[in-house]
Symmetry: D2
Subunit: 342 residues, 4 copies
């Protein structure tokens, strides 16, 4: 039995731990051999492989990034993509593919598996934690930890200078990182993409915090949007969302707060720091277990499935179920955090 492995999409701490888990168990318990494909779907598309055995996975558990490289290549966008993948797998004698990735990467795996009969097992990966069907994805805990540490540090500066400090964290479509790090860091306002925010309400919270002689920390997800559409159009800065992240919502919001409350406001944009570096213990544990269970699914011939965390158990779900819709922050969970606003 020979198993191919690839990692697609954005960087995420824990990818190497998954790979190590797969290879250690596959080789030692099942006697499988492995082929690594480089840079996500580009690997099987272009027949770009690398050796993947026990020595190759030594020492990679605590290291961020992915030894396989990654890309956002979508093989279904090229006409002969499926054929080329099939040829590469055949050429290397690869019997099954373990695909570690997010919505896009897994979406391809689902289609290859369900429609084209290419045997795939999925491992969910999104630092934003916005994949359905799994309680958590690895990388998320690390990102929340880094953001929380940053918020901890911002508190003292806010207090010493009685300034508003806006901290922009990751989360284009889901506010999980903002919600968790905002709660853990003791933020006074948390803004998420799921609910458009009212700048005047934000300013009211900011002002009430100053009245209590404390300085506010505002945590805002990069994808959060103000309610007031006109304002956005008039201002224009917000048009560039996604393109010029650093002059994004955090910067814009700080200026609005300054303008409306007369208080000094500063922005910190954590950016890529949140997704690199050594994974947290939780993420190493989760990623390792995902790896162990993914290779078990291969052994069971349980293709088209994805490993997922439910409580403390690793289960298998259809890949398609996981990619069907985004897991966003439920309103009641956001409301729960509201007691700390202001």
């Amino acid at each position: 039995m020979r198993v191919g492995v690839l990692t697609g999409g954005g960087d995420c701490p824990g990818l190497n731990a998954v790979i190590r888990g797969i290879v250690r168990k596959g080789v030692q318990e099942y006697g499988y051999e492995f082929t690594g494909f480089r840079d996500g779907w580009r690997g099987p598309l272009d027949d770009d492989t690398l050796r993947l055995d026990i020595p190759a996975v030594r020492g990679i558990l605590p290291r961020g990034g992915t030894i396989l490289g990654s890309s956002r290549t979508n093989p279904l966008k090229s006409e002969d993509g499926v054929r080329r993948i099939r040829e590469t797998l055949a050429a290397h004698g690869v019997d099954a593919l373990i695909v570690i990735g997010g919505e896009d990467t897994l979406g391809v795996a689902a289609q290859l598996s369900d429609t084209h009969g290419i045997p795939c097992v999925g491992v969910p990966k999104t630092i934003d934690n916005d994949l359905s069907a799994t309680d958590y994805t690895f990388g998320f805990d690390t990102a929340v930890g880094i953001a929380t540490e940053a918020i901890d540090r911002l508190h003292t500066t806010a207090e010493s200078h009685m300034r508003v400090l806006v901290c922009e964290v990751m989360g284009r479509h889901a506010g999980w990182i903002a919600l968790h790090s905002g709660l853990a860091g003791g933020a006074n306002v948390i803004l998420i993409p799921e609910q458009r925010f009212d700048v005047d309400q934000v300013c009211a919270w900011v002002t009430s915090r100053f009245k209590a002689s404390y300085a506010p920390i505002v945590v805002v997800a990069e994808g959060a949007m103000p309610k007031d559409g006109d304002l956005v159009l008039k201002d224009g800065t917000l048009d560039s969302f996604g393109h010029v992240r650093l002059s994004g919502v955090g910067e814009w919001l700080a200026k609005e707060i300054e303008r409306r409350t007369g208080k000094e406001a500063r922005t910190t944009v954590l950016g890529h720091v949140q997704r690199g570096g050594t994974p947290s213990a939780f993420d190493r544990w989760l990623a390792t277990r995902f790896g162990l269970h993914a290779i078990e699914a291969v052994r069971d011939g349980d293709y088209g499935t994805m490993v997922a965390l439910r409580g403390t158990d690793i289960v298998r779900v259809p890949i398609s179920e996981a990619t069907a819709q985004l897991k966003t922050v439920r309103p009641e969970l956001y409301d729960e955090a509201g007691v700390f606003f202001g």
Copy 2:
């Protein structure tokens, strides 16, 4: 409505976050007032209280320990304990009690609530994560993180000197910290209290690691025990388990490994470092949510219950259910980790 709060048992990062969550929500959303009791059950027993309001919980979220103090006092061991508690609660007009603690502390709460009609709501606390009925307890993730960081550091020393490094972590009756930190830290042997270990097997793993030109890390829970009973008696050092933790199983095992394999072995005992200091982001989030849901249970008059984590939800369970039996590491979970041994 006036609510009493107490924290009992061992120190655990996140206790202050629970207290803050309770008070913030209780005061701001329900208009409740609070009485803090000092040092666990000693507080209501001796009528020792402290002010507990919004200013009292400011800034405590990231701080380890507990502003209420803690003790292992068991009021059911003194004949008039229940009466004295009842009197103290009456004297302060306390209508309900939120009890944050482990098996012992919650056991008292269950009995007071179920048998004596004193309205209690429980919040589970054990750094060892060995309480049933909840997926995780706060403090555990922090402890695992600290232990993992230590194991990360030990790796380089082990490799540079080709020595065995034994790392003794917390866990008297359950091996959760050893299992999670051992997996996350890439340990080569993990020993837990749930399964007696065979010293010769440990030595075989150690030796096989050296054969591959690497140096082994052995993670051992403080409550782990060797299979060979005679050996323990003969040696005698192990008799003192529980009493003299620092000359415990880690030290003993290192000596046995040296004696049987001829390789140098050193021990690190992490001790109290694992349970102090700032809580991890996960633990702050969990503890905060436990606090918010505990006060909600009080508002609902849902006494005799305890808040618990199930997946990503906070639910309520009978306190008695949680304290009925220890949550230990299931054999199949330990076996899963076995692929990394040796």
Copy 3:
């Protein structure tokens, strides 16, 4: 003897450690009493004081910020500033003043001491480490540590996606933080305010790094400037330096690199995260010793002096010597780092 203490200028980890050192030694060894002035020079100007005794300094050693508050108020800019300060000191019976601050705050202390006979002792404070007469200032090591950790994390993202990652760190006029964190983090390009950079040279280094199959990290001080003046004018973004920090040199440089090399480039601006939070062990040690020696200088009546670090010794120097000129990165030190560029 009564001693006043104030902290002026920007936030800096270690300020509380200085205050604690002063008060502990002043009270316990010399029997002095203390008056804290709020918000830098604004305190003595507006007669805004706070209690400063042993209980007030308990537990503040590991905490960032300053319990005295800070401001950039310059009393010499108001006509009756000196008179008002003199009156406040007299009203409280303050015999001497310990002034903890940077160039501006200490400049006032020098003038008050030298020209107006108000007895001041200085403690140097600048997170940028750009004060002459002292080897290091506290806060700098913490900032370098935070920046280095961030650079560590950026490496894995850079490698996984083969992108240029630009990391903008503090340093308006001196490149110490960029130089130290860049060296410690293994940056491939370090740009400092002391030497205008050639964008084409930066691009050449970036390209050569990719040729070796690695992805480059560019560390740039916020005050670094490109050589090519025309370019700056044409682009226009750079005009806003100092005003709109987040759309500063880092962002500008990333765009230029993308445009000229065709490689994807992303920017991270660490901002205020670098100056908040708990001080490093080195900074706590240095700040504590500065405090102990400052109160010793008061006891010796050695006014007009400032404590300073020379090697491992704390010495005293005239305040005016320290503020006379900025301590910038010497060319040969920058050249030394050049071996790691590209």
Copy 4:
């Protein structure tokens, strides 16, 4: 020109940074070639080498340990040691040797260089910071940082349970780690090998701390010794110093404190955790600069010298000067810290 490099003695974070600095500058600026010797002096003795070029030093800057391995082998103890080293160097065409190590390893280098004409340049290495002629050695700052973090964590446990917590840190002959981490961590008692301690005095400090309603942290260097010789003999545990580190002075002292004050006391022994793992930013900067200057000394033919830190400058001193005597904590420096005792 071909240069040999070896690392001897105990593990120390920063060793890899030195090696990288040497090789990067040697290859890129001077066109030198390198030979790595394995396991300290054992390498040249047994002709055990490894490839040392630019690829070999990639990515090692943040990694603890040493890619060259280490040992305590003393070649001067074997009769033909010098001859065998000379032969190995000749066989590989090695023109000069850079020796990275502590007192013992450098002592050999001094003798080889001064007596036997084997051209050596030294780089000082001791985690204990006890080498003369240099302000600091790399690794020390990392160890102090780890110990300080541990002490930070112990504070909350001490306070929550009103217990004495004894923290044993490294330092057999010099108390630098205890002094720096004790000061930085806010310890209430610091005990160092340079001054025998009076257990009754320690107990008096402990008791006075409890009287102020706080719980004490006692930081003790592993080599610290009580004044009372009889006591030590009577107790007997202390005989095993150096052999059974974990049942060392920390454990002994905790028991004595319990016995004499009636207060609960617990010990944490940090052990090898202090010397492994990623170096601090300061240590990476210092180690890198040591490497750059060591290869410069080779280029200058300045043999028999060692690089050293003086203030912020790297200078050269005779190796023999550095190894002539131990750098211990001066009494006045220890007295300075005394204000925080009790």
